[in-house]
Symmetry: C3
Subunit: 271 residues, 3 copies
């Protein structure tokens, strides 16, 4: 039985040409992860997260306002099969190749063709007591999640063949947009790539391509272009990460998102 | 000087024939316990707890809604004498043999003949800054607690003789029901038992008997029957715990509590 | 990369002749401090604090009411230069020799000639995302802080010469009182002392002297006299700390603060 404390922090500056202003931005995150292994090899675990983020001149305006932990995730895992309950990981939010790379300090807001999908709540309090199952065997992976509050199921299946991963996803809750999604990802000549499509129902279609490349042992660049009907216009961005060692990195990005040019620069570190 | 993190989690399903429904249930609990030993051997300590529990389709509805820690308990301890301040342990809530065994996943709601008594608050925020003392010497044990908000004192004395523990308790706050209580507990032919009685004042009388038995090195069964005037009718239940190793166990129970048949089944684990 | 948990607790009694009453008092504090070192020797860090304090018959009335953590401080540090963001340390609140010693259990309310100055928020939630820099080289130290919400800058410079530290400070936010301050501190014949002055603007002047002395390896006494226009009359106090080993100490004090005689007695310990 173990308890691990896993920390992450970032700070730097962020620009948005809607406000035409550079602002400070920072985040502090602490995960408390407890696990134990039963005699038959099954792993039981639980996790809570505290995430505090600054917004403008103030701390913590974009998450919980109480600086406590989020709702817990609990799980049991054995032979590639994991059952989660509580604040679970959802399928579309974890579907291989669906979301674009997250360049820079803030990840350019995690652009994904699949918009409005259920997800793990880093600041969730009093959220859904959901259920999810993931299964991995050799080249096959699947994820099924169910939210009892929205009475919604989402799922994906993925298969890896000759280094390329093909994934198909589906979601049926009225509260969320995406109806189905498809993605492929892999490496071509040491450049990671992904291409994905989502049918967002009444919010239209969306598709995008992304790349990720290690220029040398310290410097990585990544970027994407995504057309999302609900976000108007094309969205694109590119960023870099320079490894400082010890879990720290310099990161920066520039992009065009939802009609605004945005940029960020700063440092991230793990502890 | 040490800080220990002590975790507990459970998840499973619970049935109640009032709602005629099975529901998911889960809990995540983390204790942060700091202690140090002075040169003369006195131990100083402090403890806070975070407990998050699901209720129905939502997380955390039956405790604090902020997912923070509870009010701290602080103590100093030496030669069997412990002084506690803050969110303390109360006497009747810890009186040997008074409460029934807690079979199954949820412990069948911790039935005790002593109803409405002061207790340590696992979710308490802005609670009483109380004081308590416990003393143990050889076969003798005593516990005295005082709540300054309700201006109430509760206490017990216990004595163990030939393997049987006899305990007497008392409580005088108008905000709580129980006026006095008596209990005996021990083992007969490797079966643990307890029998207890409480005078709950205007809430009437209550009494009960419980048992606890290790069928083999992995399987334990326990149960009780308790008559509590304020809960109408007889309340009874039986449950099992199957040790999976590594601090994990399968647990289940079925019982009749406050006019409803209830049942639960799931897993608990420590980390 | 490391995560340190650093705990502090105190409990005891406090007297105030305004209420003519002795009251229980206690506090539990936990710091979570994450740090990592990059390959070039720079240190990156982040810290959050949970502090819960009793007030009268209740827990936690004088701080956050949610028992969560405070806003985080993040920093990067190299070669004596530290940059902090978030819930930062402010200059005047850390100026050498400015504040009086803090005798006894509660520190007699941290009397300082500089009143109403910005400070690190042990219970701050949704506070300012501020910036600060500190620099130390040989005998020289400087601290500059900026609060974007109050648009205020405060700073000090300090120089140590022949064992005496001279410091000058300045603050310009309208929301705070102190305009400038000066202090000297050091040791004379093994007795630590400090003398300081603050111009508190429309709140008048203030000055004080303090001392700190180790009578033997276990017993320390400290005290001060301070004249603060805004607090009327002279304020003075004296206290002791008796080291119990293991990070625990008995502490007590008596003083005259803001027209009332106050006293405290209790124990503090680290874990």
């Amino acid at each position: 039985a173990d308890i691990d404390l896993v920390g992450f922090a970032r700070f730097g500056v962020v620009y948005n040409d809607g406000t035409e202003d550079w602002n400070l931005t920072n985040r502090f995150q602490l995960d408390v992860i407890g696990t134990t292994e039963a005699d038959n090899g099954m792993e039981f675990g639980g996790k809570v997260r505290m995430r505090i983020t600054s917004a403008g001149d103030y701390m913590n305006a974009n998450g919980t306002t109480t600086n406590g932990f989020n709702d817990p995730m609990l799980w049991v895992s054995s032979d590639g099969l994991t059952l989660m309950v509580g604040n679970v990981e959802y399928a579309l939010d974890n579907m291989p190749g669906l979301a674009m790379p997250s360049p820079g300090l803030l990840g350019l807001e995690f652009i994904s063709p699949a918009i409005s999908i259920p997800g793990y709540g880093s600041n969730a309090i009093n959220g859904s007591d959901a259920v999810a199952m993931t299964y991995e065997m050799d080249a096959f992976a699947a994820h099924l999640s169910y939210d009892p509050v929205y009475e919604g199921t989402d799922m994906y299946v993925a298969y890896t063949f000759s280094g390329y991963t093909f994934a198909l996803g589906y979601q049926d809750a009225y509260a969320y947009s995406t109806e189905w999604a498809a993605a492929v990802s892999g490496d071509i000549a040491n450049i990671g790539f992904n291409a994905s499509y989502a049918d967002n129902g009444s919010d239209g279609d969306a598709y995008g391509v992304g790349f990720d490349y290690d220029i040398n042992s310290a410097l990585n660049v990544s970027g994407f272009v995504a057309y999302v009907d609900a976000l108007d216009d094309a969205n694109y961005g590119v960023g870099f990460a320079y490894d400082l060692g010890g879990g720290a990195a310099l990161k920066g990005s520039v992009g065009y998102l939802i009609e605004y040019t945005v940029a960020d620069f700063g440092v991230t570190f793990n502890f």
